[in-house]
């Protein structure tokens, strides 16, 4: 089962290494990891996607919480949440396919961010499923390079 964890931690040297070291040392897996400062520059927010049985996820959450630099851990995939990932794809765009690439990018509400005679670099944002769909469609045309940010996620505000 896939889980998306949101972790607030002290923005200190070595703090991220404590988190990643915990995963490698205990054999937990990290599918993606995204970190940046919050509004408070002393605190970073880390979004981590991992996979495991309930008991493993419980251990991961507890072990993260035990790290002295960690302020808060929430498994936001337990409730409603929004997740986004951004991808930059350099896709082959020669005379025959240029128009088709643009159409596809348009359908996915992507943007062309770099152009060359033989390729477009495009930017697409969305949940992981959308990113995967774009990749699947562009692959036959020829993907030259791909850079993904990994998932960031936020719990939805309560309805009432």
């Amino acid at each position: 089962m896939k889980h998306t964890l949101s972790v607030l931690l002290q923005n200190k040297p070595g703090a991220l290494s404590r988190v990643t070291g915990l995963f490698s040392g205990r054999g937990f897996n990290i599918e993606s990891l995204c970190v940046a400062e919050t509004l408070d520059p002393k605190i970073s927010c880390l979004t981590l996607v991992t996979r495991g049985e309930e008991q493993i996820i419980e251990q991961i959450t507890k072990q993260l919480h035990k790290l002295i630099d960690v302020i808060k851990v929430s498994d936001i995939s337990e409730g409603e949440f929004v997740e986004r990932e951004m991808v930059l794809i350099r896709v082959k765009a020669e005379a025959a396919t240029r128009a088709e690439v643009l159409r596809i990018i348009d359908i996915f509400r992507g943007k062309v961010v770099d152009v060359s005679p033989s390729s477009y670099a495009v930017e697409i944002t969305g949940p992981e499923s959308k990113i995967m769909a774009v990749i699947d469609i562009l692959r036959p045309i020829g993907i030259k390079e791909i850079i993904r940010t990994g998932t960031i996620a936020m719990a939805r505000a309560p309805k009432k």
């Binding site: 070595g14 002295i68 960690v70």
Partner: protein
């Protein structure tokens, strides 16, 4: 607010924490601190290898319950301490390790004696720090002592660049430490306490399974009260020995791989396992699906990560063991429907069953004429010290025989590397304990293999008048591995015979200590007696039955009921 050098501030912080003795080894990066030590009243015990310094600080901490302190230089000084830091981490021992570091301007430049010790020790410390800014020095030291000694205790390392120690810092008055990210939870949830007590009331075959947490939280009195009030048998992990009197009729001794027959049977047949400050280690549980298969499980532990890590728990109580046990004792005392006499009566058939197991297969060994049996040596040490000595051990057969045959009645009397299983722990730890309790008898029960891993500390013991006694159970083998090879590898003794072993009696003499040897059974008691009466460091060399094994034994991966017996 007073201005002083970093070195002076560090010494002042140690004094503020009540530190009287530290263990260490100097070097270029910590020379300022050593200079300052000369003018302070803190006793610095110079060891012969940095691993010894950290083990000695650990031995001090286990024996006293206070935070032990070690001081090492940068680079190799720090890395030499790593095994001992990991030892303390696995057993949750409160120590603070101060390491020197190259000046901040040189960090990252592969400077002489530079190593990223904070990176190296990240997974084997409770927390660690590199002090980059002189203004962080004093707060970091205070926080380190606070972290080491509260919650689930553990080692904390502070890396001190030379220029930070030499710079001027402000020394403020100590305030109560409050950390946003660290708030250990001491008090049990009353609802969980009630659930646990009700489960105990309903149980027919309860067993208390206690670990090192009982000792770390000084909960032995509360534990003993609960066990006796309810008339429930108690089994202990290696780390839990002494948490309940080993000579009490309710004590079943140790459980697990080399546990007593009665302990392992009682857990296997129990309908309620009350785990207190224990962590369901693989050496305790054996094959997991066959561990306590009929039992509901109550688990008291201060560390939430210990709960439901290996074994699913029915009633978790996240709390300090002592507070939780107090809560449970109070619940029973205030409960109208609880009657101790009735409880005793109710558990009588269960205790009878347990006693039958004890009588059927007590801890035992076969005598062999004049040949010295290691178990006999431990029994005689127990008898001649009145069961009141502080015993340290190395790791291997010596450790298991000590755990099985010395009856620990008091906590903090067995100092042993349980989690990491560090050979070479016993001698330096004994020195640490002896420095803390100069009037106590402190004996390292050792093997001929493991004693050689830190034998250089004999010089430390001599220099500081730590008159420890070392009992070497000498079989000229790396005995525990040999035993596995005998049982599971067709007697192929690969690399376990110690073909060259020093003459330990002569070796003792070389260090200015006293060496005694026993070759036959009737020499054992006179040797121990003489060692105890000798006002010096003593090595006792017991030439034991070479291929003696530790039994009972649960082969790795088997259920704990599948014991090989004597």
């Amino acid at each position: 607010m007073t201005k002083m050098t970093g070195a002076q501030a560090i010494i002042k912080c140690l004094q503020e924490e009540g530190v009287s003795t530290i263990f260490g080894f100097p070097g270029g990066a910590v020379i300022d601190l050593y200079d300052e030590l000369l003018d302070s009243d803190i006793k610095h015990v110079l060891v012969r290898h940095e691993q010894g310094a950290v083990h000695a600080a650990d031995g001090w901490a286990r024996a006293t319950g206070e935070v032990g302190v070690a001081l090492l230089t940068s680079g190799p000084g720090a890395t030499n301490g790593v095994t001992a830091i990991a030892t303390a981490y696995m057993d949750s021992i409160p120590i603070v390790v101060l390491t020197g570091q190259v000046p901040t301007a040189l960090i990252g430049n592969d400077a002489f004696q530079e190593v990223d010790i904070v990176g190296i020790t990240r997974p084997c410390t409770k927390h660690n720090y590199l002090v980059n800014d002189p203004k962080d020095l004093v707060p970091t030291l205070r926080e380190a002592f606070y972290l080491a000694s509260t919650g689930r205790p553990g080692p904390v390392l502070i890396d001190l660049p030379k220029d930070v120690v030499a710079s001027m810092v402000n020394f403020n008055k100590k305030k109560k430490i409050k950390m946003q990210t660290y708030q250990p939870h001491y008090d049990p949830h009353p609802g969980q306490v009630e659930k646990a007590c009700k489960a105990i009331m309903a149980a027919k075959r309860p067993v208390l399974y206690i670990g090192g947490g009982v000792i770390l939280s000084n909960a032995h009195r509360e534990l003993t009260e609960l066990a006796q009030k309810l008339n429930v048998p108690v089994t202990m992990t290696l780390m839990g020995l002494g948490g309940f009197p080993g000579t009490d009729p309710l004590s079943l001794g140790m459980l697990g791989m080399h546990g007593s027959y009665a302990s392992n049977m009682a857990v296997a047949k129990s309908d309620l396992l009350i785990a207190v400050g224990a962590r369901f280690d693989d050496r305790v549980t054996g094959r997991l699906d066959a561990f306590a298969p009929h039992a509901k499980i109550i688990h008291i532990d201060i560390d939430p990560t210990s709960i439901s890590k290996n074994v699913k728990v029915d009633i978790p109580i996240v709390a300090d063991c002592r507070s939780a046990l107090r809560g449970m004792n109070a619940w029973f005392d205030n409960c109208d429907t609880f009657d101790p006499t009735a409880s005793k009566k109710k558990h009588a058939p269960w205790l009878n069953e347990v006693n039958e197991w004890q009588e059927k297969h007590p801890l035992a060994y076969r005598d062999n004429g004049d040949v010295i049996k290691p178990q006999y040596v431990v029994q005689m040490i127990n008898e001649l010290t009145g069961g009141d000595a502080i015993i340290t051990t190395e790791v291997g057969q010596n450790q298991m025989w000590a755990a099985q045959f010395y009856k620990f009645n008091e906590p903090r009397h067995l100092l042993t590397s349980g989690g990491l299983g560090t050979m070479g722990y016993g001698l330096p730890a004994a020195i640490g304990a002896k420095m803390a309790f100069p009037d106590k008898t402190v004996i390292d029960i050792a093997g001929d293999g493991s004693i050689q891993m830190n034998i250089q500390e004999l010089a430390t013991a001599r220099q500081w008048g730590a008159k420890v006694k070392v009992a070497i159970l000498n079989n000229n083998y790396l005995g525990m591995v040999r035993q596995w090879q005998e049982l599971f590898y067709n007697r192929r003794y690969s690399a376990t015979p110690m073909e060259i072993t020093p003459d330990f009696v002569e070796l003792a003499r070389a260090y200015g200590a006293v060496g005694l040897r026993a070759r036959t059974k009737d020499e054992v008691v006179p040797v121990i007696r003489e060692a105890l009466e000798t006002d010096n460091v003593v090595i006792m060399d017991f030439a034991i039955e070479r291929e003696e094994g530790v039994f009972p034994m649960v082969p790795a991966g088997k259920a704990t009921t599948e014991m090989l017996l004597v």
